[in-house]
């Protein structure tokens, strides 16, 4: 089947099997910033924004994205330079595999609760796993991003 959406602000359409997942549609079409980690919606590496809410693209049927406004790490960091700057300045990354998900989640938190306090930041980011355990600088990056808004 063909699925049409707005991707990073541009019209986008792609062929996908009817049971295809959004993460595969993105990656097979060159949007490889989005990573597949656990594949079961737990680790957060595949987080993308669908109509302003964060979504685990590894358990999100591509067909559900039809007509929606989808943003990946590529588009969000281009649209909002403060997002990338915060992670660079606070060194909110180590090996990098979880980083796209952390960045998209930070942006999503900025939509849902831009005045989030420390506890709310930790609560919201809790499902984005970093196996390097670099959580201190990741949380600092999110805080710096929200402060810039």
């Amino acid at each position: 089947m063909n699925v049409k959406m707005t991707l990073n602000g541009e019209p986008f359409s792609a062929e996908t099997p009817s049971d295809g997942l959004l993460v595969d549609v993105l990656r097979l079409n060159g949007f490889t910033g989005t990573k597949e980690g656990c594949g079961v919606g737990v680790c957060g590496a595949c987080t993308v924004l669908v109509s302003d809410v964060p979504v685990a693209s590894c358990i999100y049927l591509a067909a559900l994205a039809e007509g929606q406004d989808v943003w990946t790490v590529e588009g969000l960091t281009e649209k909002d330079s403060a997002l990338l700057n915060a992670f660079v300045e606070k060194e909110g990354m180590q090996c990098g595999i979880c980083t796209p998900g952390q960045v998209v989640s930070a942006y999503a938190l900025g939509i849902e609760n831009p005045t989030a306090n420390e506890e709310e930041i930790r609560e919201f980011m809790a499902g984005n796993l970093c196996r390097c355990t670099g959580y201190v600088t990741i949380t600092e990056s999110v805080r710096a991003y929200l402060a810039s808004k």
């Binding site: 009817s18 919606g41 737990v42 957060g44 049927l61 499902g127």
Partner: protein, 282 residues
């Protein structure tokens, strides 16, 4: 596999009349089951373009029932002013499910139709006395959740029917508490989930109570015998202990990575007692 994308309930029902067809709310569970080839449907009917199925009827503030559209997401339940004020246990439980990426997609209708006894919403909605509104080719019917979960991942809604709405009674002075006991990781399924809704009379005797358990049988269920021990009485330590024991003997847990059968049964006893106590001290 075919995909249908209806925009009205009538069209959705028409599509559900096809053989081997599944309705999809947020699809978080269905995507996983498809991925693992646990299900092989011939058709999926996506409900995310049926606007009338989504949202909490915030206008129902002065009525005795809260009406929640079946494809309302857990995120919507967390943020609904009405759910927060009238059904705080439901907004709390919604905020504990999975992670933000699951909560923004997973739906209340999906949670009950999927019927996974380990999930949080089934016991919470049972304790709140919720009802599923079901429409199908032969008409509409209301099924109390106490009659809705008929087996492991099996519900009273048949394949050609659709749950369109979940209604939850508002009870004045109701005390509620949901405990999800997760000894492994907080974002895991609970080893035991205990949801209790209780009202007290002026003399602090129990006027009514529903005790619902998740994770410890093939479905979430109401521990009616444990509740009956409390109703009409002022809950003493002995009575609360008896209710805990009763709930534990009604449970039918299985051994898995979240605990042995004996451990889960012991935890039903402990957390039923503690959750009753929490309701009493509100």
């Amino acid at each position: 596999m075919l995909i249908s994308t209806p925009t009205t309930v009538a069209d959705a029902l028409f599509e559900l009349g096809n053989e081997n067809t599944l309705a999809v709310g947020g699809g978080t569970s269905i995507a996983l089951m498809l991925k693992n080839r646990l299900i092989e449907p011939d058709r999926l009917v996506l409900l995310n373009r049926v606007p009338t199925l989504s949202g909490v009827d915030e206008r129902s503030t002065d009525t005795d029932t809260v009406r929640i559209g079946a494809t309302s997401t857990l995120l919507q339940l967390m943020h609904s002013p009405l759910v927060n004020s009238a059904l705080p246990m439901l907004s709390f439980a919604s905020s504990r499910v999975g992670n933000p990426r699951v909560r923004s997609v997973a739906t209340i209708g999906g949670a009950i139709v999927h019927g996974d006894p380990r999930q949080d919403l089934p016991p919470v909605l049972l304790a709140l006395g919720a009802t599923a509104h079901i429409v199908g080719p032969s008409g509409e019917r209301d099924v109390p959740l106490s009659e809705f979960f008929i087996g492991f991942m099996e519900s009273a809604a048949s394949e050609d029917e659709l749950v369109t709405e979940v209604t939850v009674p508002r009870v004045q002075g109701q005390r509620t508490h949901y405990t999800r006991f997760t000894p492994g990781s907080e974002d895991d399924y609970p080893t035991v989930g205990v949801a209790i809704a209780m009202t007290l009379a002026d003399d602090r005797s129990v006027k009514d109570v529903k005790i619902a358990l998740g994770g410890v049988d093939s479905t979430a269920f109401l521990a009616t015998e444990a509740a009956a021990l409390l109703i009409g009485n002022r809950p003493t330590d002995e009575l609360i202990a008896a209710a805990g024991k009763s709930a534990a003997s009604r449970a039918n847990p299985s051994d898995d990575q979240r605990g042995s059968e004996a451990y889960k049964r012991a935890m039903v006893d402990v957390w039923t007692r503690r959750t009753i106590t929490a309701c009493l001290s509100d």
